[in-house]
């Protein structure tokens, strides 16, 4: 069986992460699984987790009054879910639902924040990686906005 620390170190989001950081992060982590159709998180609820997706697929949904709910993005193996745990008010801005049986590593948000405050090198490392993903998602959103298939 793979140890939690090894699973974390082998996830693409943490590729080439210093072993001491992987060890620190492991203290906040647990293995989780979701049946297809269940929600990992819901809009408005407290954002206390950060997920590394290992298997499966997760749909991010937005509900707008008088309109049908839509899926704005799907995330799969090797991707991450959620950064609302990082900044106040620590609330989710969308729903996330497993569309396939999904396995992930869940980190406790407050535990991560505390470790990052105590060890700024770890915090900077984590932020750099998160900023990279945010950049990619922002670019993808821009392409969605310009309606590239029109």
């Amino acid at each position: 069986m793979q140890t939690l620390e090894r699973i974390i170190a082998e996830h693409p989001f943490f590729s080439e992460l210093d072993a001491q950081y992987a060890q620190l992060l492991t203290g906040c982590a647990s293995n989780v699984r979701f049946d297809s159709g269940t929600y990992l998180l819901k809009e408005g609820e407290g954002a206390n987790e950060f997920f590394l997706i290992r298997h499966g697929s997760v749909a991010l949904e937005i509900f707008a009054p008088q309109r049908k709910p839509i899926i704005i993005q799907t995330l799969g193996a090797g991707e991450i879910l959620g950064w609302s745990w990082l900044l106040p008010p620590y609330r989710w801005r969308f729903h996330a639902r497993a569309v396939e049986p999904t396995r992930a590593i869940s980190f406790h948000g407050k535990c991560l924040r505390t470790k990052c405050e105590q060890n700024h090198d770890l915090g900077y490392e984590l932020l750099k990686r998160l900023a990279g993903v945010m950049g990619q998602r922002l670019e993808a959103t821009r392409l969605q906005l310009i309606d590239v298939y029109a």
Binding site: S57, A59, L60, E61, K68, P69, I70, I71, I72, Q73, T74, G76, G78, E79, V99, E100, A140, L143, Q144, I146, D147, V148, Y149, A150
Partner: protein, 270 residues
């Protein structure tokens, strides 16, 4: 002079897109074509428009087109009934590099109606499976209802050495596939960029971003090909209607290596 064809049948792909299968009225075989070539298709009374051939290049009896209804000529074509006469000139233009791609992996990236001009490449690769490496098809559409050739996409995705991934810009809750622009599919694709040839078709802005993504993944510009489907009239390089910088799309293209057209593609307006 256009050759007279009869509309054999029409099938509806999406709200506004239809596939038309034509057969020659004189009973002879249509001229053979290369994947990526187009015809000038004449809807009597409504004008002549360039349309890529979307059918199987080994089908010696029919010519197949997939047409999105956007204006008078395309509307007339998609609403014609079986038996209607349609004039066809061609095939014209330079198609996809299906010969140069032999022995290598083929990566197809399409957006919207752009899958139609690439479908003949897929048929060609599948009919000559041991001459090519892996086949990867990445396809993006606006909404689930806009996905072309759904059943074929599913059947291709089940074939060995073939990956077919579809994504939409936004999905309803019944959609269980990917959501995100087509470039987000690259993360799920098994690519070997140094030994692959990529063929891209879709709106220009999409092709530009896909070409950039492929380069970022290590693919050489000379192995990336795009189809520039800007409008044209004569289709043989006389009228200048489709002149684009130094190129005539009708005879130098519509398929170009990215290395040749990159400077033009990156300019705002030309």
């Amino acid at each position: 002079m256009p050759v007279a064809y009869a509309l054999h049948h029409v099938s509806q792909e999406t709200d506004d897109t239809f596939t038309l299968v034509l057969e020659p009225k004189d009973g002879r075989s249509p001229e053979s074509f290369q994947p990526g070539q187009f015809s000038m298709v004449w809807a009597f009374g409504a004008g002549e428009v360039p349309i890529s051939i979307s059918g199987d290049p080994s089908d010696a009896a029919h010519l197949t087109y997939t047409i999105r209804s956007v204006g008078p000529a395309t509307r007339a074509l998609v609403s014609a009934e079986a038996g209607t006469s349609v004039g066809v000139r061609g095939p014209f233009g330079r198609g996809w590099p299906v010969d140069a791609a032999r022995e290598r992996d083929v990566v197809i990236v399409a957006g919207g109606i752009g899958l139609a001009p690439l479908r003949p490449v897929i048929y060609r690769v599948l009919a000559n499976r041991n001459e090519y490496g892996r086949l990867t098809i990445l396809y993006g559409a606006r909404r689930p209802a806009d996905v072309l050739f759904r059943e074929e996409l599913v059947s291709w995705s089940l074939l060995p050495e073939t990956q077919a991934l579809v994504t939409v810009d936004s999905g309803d809750l019944g959609w269980t596939g990917h959501v995100g622009v087509v470039t987000t599919l690259f993360r799920h694709a098994k690519l070997f960029p140094h030994d692959s040839v990529a063929m891209i078709c879709g709106p220009e802005v999409m092709m530009r971003f896909v070409a950039q993504e492929l380069q970022a993944r290590g693919m050489a510009q000379s192995n990336i090909f795009l189809s520039m489907e800007r409008n044209m009239k004569c289709a043989v390089g006389f009228c200048g209607h489709c002149q684009w910088g130094p190129h005539f799309i009708c005879k130098d293209g519509p398929v170009f290596p990215y290395s040749r057209i990159r400077p033009l593609l990156d300019r705002y307006e030309l």
